[in-house]
Each structure stands twice: as structure tokens, then as C-alpha cells.
């Protein structure tokens, strides 16, 4: 007689018909493949954990965003936010799709040049540009977004000795109804700082005021906040045109569109409630078209969208190290991926699915990472089926910020794989080894002998 397939015994308390604390929808099918490639095959070949990026999803998402805006406003330009994911392969996909580069440090600036971006198409944001950074940006005729008055004076000083008139914009912060207001960057709209900076720029005669920039925050769930921001920048542009008789060339509304992730504490899943590109595009375009701007000569609309473009294209595949019952009876799983790789688990309740078929029975589970640290919690409560040691899991929508904010902490960072549009796999960043870490260390002579 052949024996039956074994499954661990489970008992689950029934919560009579009420949606759970985390909403109704916790049932997902397993993620056995990504872009047609079995997850098991990927982890067997490249190890576990491993980051996986889908070139197809990157390109189709970009095209969707581009279409949402270009069908509503005549001149639209995306600039890829390097900090969101600055792997060369990723940046080059966006540049091939027509994106400029948006950078916030000398390092990111050099990376954009290294990726072949024309200096004229690099937007240089951020509060921390050095004198050397600014000189390089001026030489390359990049778009310099001024963050504070000290930077403005520094620029005027450098420009005095330069043959080229730097093209600049100011970053404006403002009340759009979004809390918290990001007022630490740029010049305030409401209290007149922005006008003060504009007067100084124009008055200096040394800088060319090309654009107006704002970045109102991140993961903004109300498209109307962008309508408010667009209207305020359009008002500024119209006033500049009245007062100084020249036209602002572009309005840059920064990033901040929500991806499909679910924010921690959100009752409903992100894909059900987060605005779409069309929602944002509608709010922004109608605000600009109905503003005081001259409709016969509208400025270019620049968008520095980061997470909403790449989040869904990224996956993190890993496996179960152990099952563990906590002292209060709650079930937990220890995974081989933790907050060292998944920085965004501090913000999101990531969608996490088993990588192989599973049975119906589920239990509220805590998902821990492998670090010997209390903060290493990947999901603090997820209704999850029974998995055993070695079973695979897939974390979804991890394309933004994780591959730049990850930490070399306790363990080494894994490989990153790109699946191209033909279904071929490429290692676009190799895993770290002991040598990656000790290679840049130096041992003083007196410590070399034991």
C-alpha cells in the first residue's frame, strides 16, 4: 500500500465572517515562476536569496506612465531618479526608453555620466553638492536645482569665473495639504523664500533661471496634492514672466507617486486603493492647463518618478530556514532574507507568496529574517500557509530603494538577476564575498601576527 502525502497537522481559530485585522484579501496563488522562468530554477542556479528584476515589467510600466501623461499634456519628460535604483543595467533601460537622469550626489552624477547620459540631460538635486560637483555640473551644462541660499551664493561665485552661464532651477517647498510637509529641502513658497531666491538669481545676472522644481513627498496617496503643487509652481512661473519678461522652460514636480505596495497600517491592499498613473496625470495636467500659464507656450513638465516605475519589476526570492512557535503560541518562520536586504519592510506590508503550491490551511505568522537582531522582522503578521525548511518564498514589489539602501550587515549581499524581454537571465550585480568586505580593510603592522 502506498502511503499518503504528509502535511503537518494544523488547527486554526475561526473568526466568524469578519474581515481580519489586515483586510479580507490574504489569498494569493503561489509564485512558481517569474516572467516564465521557474523560481526554483533561479534559486538553484543563482542561490538563495536572490533579487530578480523583470526588464519587461520595467519597460511596460514606463510606457504606461509615459502614455498617461503624454496623452494629457503636450510636453512631458521623465528623469530617472538614480537613488531609487542605480544599477547600471536598470538606468540604461530607462535611458533607452528616453528618460533623463535625476541625481542627488557627486557619486550619482558620475554614474549618470558613466551610463552615457548627456550632461544637459542630468538634473542635479540635493542639499549636499560640493563646489567640485557644481563646477563639473556647470561644465557639462547640467540642470542644477538649488536647495539653499549658501548654495546659491556659491554658484554665483563660481559662475563669476566661468565662461558658461549655469542653468539653474530652485527647489520649492510648499503646503499641499500633505503631512508632514517636506520643508527642509528648498525654498518655501508661502513665506516668500522662493521669491527671495528668484530675485537673487535674476538680480545676479550670472545664472539662467530655467525651471522650477518641487518634490512634495513620497508615496503620496492623494493626486490632488500634485494639483495644488502644479498650480503654485504655475503661478510662480506666470509671475516671473510678468515681472522679468522671460519664460520658465520647465516645471519639475519631482517624484512621489505611490507604487502598488501596501503601506504599513493600511486597512486595504495597495493595489486596490493606490492611485494610478492616470489619476496623477489627470490631476497634474488639468491643473497646469487651467493655470495662469500661457497656453500657447507651455513649459516642459518634468517628472522624477522613482518607486512607482520600478517597484513592481523587482522580486526577492528566498527560502525558509526554520519554523518556530513563539511563547504566545504564535507561529513564526525564519527566512534567509531580512531587513538587511529589504529595507522597505519598515514601510510596507510586502506581498509575500510561497514559491511552490501549498494546501488550504493558513495560520497567522510572523516572518523573521536571519539576522541576530530584534528589528529583523519582514512581516509582523501575515496569513500564511504551512511551509517547511527549504521551501521557497517570493517577496513582491521590491524594485525601489532596496537595491540602493540595502546593508552589508551580518551577511553578504546576494546576486541581482535581470530577466530580459526574451526570457534570458543576466547577473547584473554579483554577490559579495568575504573579499568584498576585507578587500578595503587595512591591518596595522602590529596586528598582523597573532
Amino acid at each position: 500500500m502506498t502511503k499518503q502525502l504528509y502535511e503537518r497537522p494544523i488547527i486554526r481559530k475561526l473568526e466568524t465572517g469578519m474581515p481580519g485585522k489586515f483586510g479580507m484579501r490574504t489569498e494569493y496563488p503561489p509564485t512558481t515562476q517569474i516572467d516564465g522562468i521557474p523560481v526554483k530554477k533561479i534559486t538553484e542556479k543563482y542561490g538563495s536569496p536572490v533579487f530578480i528584476l523583470s526588464e519587461d515589467t520595467i519597460r511596460t510600466t514606463f510606457k504606461r506612465a509615459q502614455r498617461a501623461f503624454s496623452t494629457r499634456y503636450p510636453k512631458v519628460q521623465f528623469a530617472w531618479s538614480y537613488k531609487t535604483n542605480y544599477l547600471d543595467a536598470v538606468c540604461r533601460i530607462y535611458h533607452q526608453e528616453g528618460s533623463w537622469a535625476e541625481v542627488v550626489s557627486g557619486f550619482e552624477y558620475d554614474k549618470a555620466l558613466h551610463n552615457g547620459v548627456d550632461g544637459k540631460r542630468i538634473i542635479f538635486n540635493g542639499p549636499g553638492k560640493s563646489e567640485e560637483d557644481l563646477k563639473k555640473a556647470i561644465d557639462n551644462d547640467s540642470l542644477i536645482h538649488i536647495d539653499h541660499l549658501d548654495e546659491l551664493y556659491l554658484l554665483i561665485g563660481i559662475a563669476g569665473n566661468s565662461s558658461r552661464k549655469p542653468r539653474v532651477a530652485i527647489r520649492v517647498n510648499m503646503d499641499t495639504g500633505i503631512y508632514p510637509q517636506w520643508d527642509r529641502f528648498g525654498f518655501n513658497y508661502e513665506n516668500g523664500q522662493a521669491w527671495d531666491a528668484i530675485n537673487k538669481i535674476v538680480g545676479s545676472g550670472k545664472l539662467e533661471l530655467t525651471g522650477l522644481h518641487t518634490h512634495i513627498g513620497t508615496f503620496i496617496l492623494t493626486p490632488n496634492a500634485y494639483a495644488v503643487a502644479a498650480t503654485k509652481l504655475a503661478d510662480l512661473a506666470a509671475e516671473i514672466s510678468n515681472k522679468f519678461n522671460f519664460r520658465i522652460k520647465y516645471i519639475d514636480l519631482g517624484g512621489g507617486f505611490a507604487s502598488r505596495n501596501t503601506l504599513k497600517g493600511s486597512y486595504l491592499p495597495g493595489p486596490d486603493v493606490n492611485p494610478t498613473f492616470d489619476d496623477y496625470a489627470e490631476a497634474i495636467s488639468s491643473a497646469l492647463l487651467n493655470s495662469r500659464l500661457d497656453s500657447s507656450d507651455l513649459p516642459l513638465l518634468i517628472l522624477e518618478t522613482g518607486r512607482a516605475l520600478i517597484d513592481d519589476a523587482g522580486y526577492l526570492a528566498g527560502s525558509v530556514i526554520a519554523n518556530k512557535r513563539l511563547s504566545n503560541g504564535k507561529k513564526s518562520l525564519i527566512l534567509d532574507l531580512g531587513v538587511n536586504l529589504l529595507f522597505t519592510s519598515f514601510w510596507y506590508d510586502h506581498k509575500i507568496t510561497p514559491a511552490q503550491p501549498f494546501s488550504l490551511y493558513r495560520e497567522d505568522t510572523v516572518l523573521y529574517g536571519p539576522l541576530c537582531m530584534n528589528i529583523d522582522v519582514v512581516r509582523d503578521n501575515i496569513s500564511f500557509p504551512q511551509l517547511n525548511t527549504g521551501d521557497g518564498v517570493v517577496v513582491h514589489s521590491v524594485g525601489a530603494y532596496n537595491m540602493t539602501q540595502w546593508m552589508q550587515f551580518i551577511t553578504l549581499r546576494p546576486k541581482i538577476i535581470l530577466i530580459d524581454v526574451k526570457g534570458n537571465m543576466h547577473v547584473i550585480r554579483d554577490n559579495e564575498t568575504l573579499n568584498t568586505v576585507i578587500g578595503s580593510e587595512n591591518l596595522p603592522e602590529h596586528l598582523k601576527t597573532n
Binding site: 502511503k3 504528509y6 497537522p9 488547527i11 486554526r12 512557535r325 503560541g329
Partner: protein, 89 residues
């Protein structure tokens, strides 16, 4: 060997639903969980239950023992075990 006793007033259906009239709570168990509860009702001890499961299912005996331990823990957590039962395992 320790005996695990499910409280006698717990109603158990063939489809794997448990009802505790004392608290009004309902539970569901998977087929193997149901089988184990039946074996407990028949007065089988842990060793006997493990042996019975290994007889019917294709599984590593060590894993069966571990899972049974976990299952008993959960039954106790949900206060489905007789207070005197299973305390000395």
C-alpha cells in the same frame, strides 16, 4: 508516556470543525489534524499517535514528532485540552 486528553465537551465534525460550547469558539483542523484528535479521543498517547501517523503517511518520523508537539501546543493554547491531560509531556 503522557496521555493527551481533548476536553470531553468539544464537538468535532467529520469535516474538521471544532466547537467549544464553553467559550463559543470555533476552529478548523486539516484532515491529519482531525485524525490525530480522533486518536487522542481513543486514548492513544503521543508515541502511539506518532506510530499511527507514520503508518499512514509518507513522512520523516522526526518531523512527525516535532509537528505533533507543535499541534499539541496549539491545542493547549486554544484551551481545548483537559487541564490534567498532557501537562507532564
Amino acid at each position: 508516556m503522557s496521555l493527551i486528553k481533548i476536553q470531553t465537551n468539544i464537538a468535532i465534525s467529520d469535516s474538521g470543525f471544532l466547537f467549544n460550547p464553553a467559550t463559543g469558539e470555533s476552529f478548523s483542523v486539516n484532515p491529519i489534524g482531525l485524525e490525530i484528535i480522533r486518536l487522542m479521543r481513543e486514548g492513544k498517547n503521543e508515541t502511539e499517535i506518532c506510530a499511527a501517523v507514520n503508518e499512514t503517511y509518507d513522512a520523516d518520523p522526526a518531523i512527525v514528532e516535532r509537528d505533533l508537539h507543535d499541534f499539541i501546543h496549539m491545542l493547549r493554547q486554544h484551551q481545548l485540552l483537559d487541564n490534567n491531560g498532557g501537562q507532564n509531556n
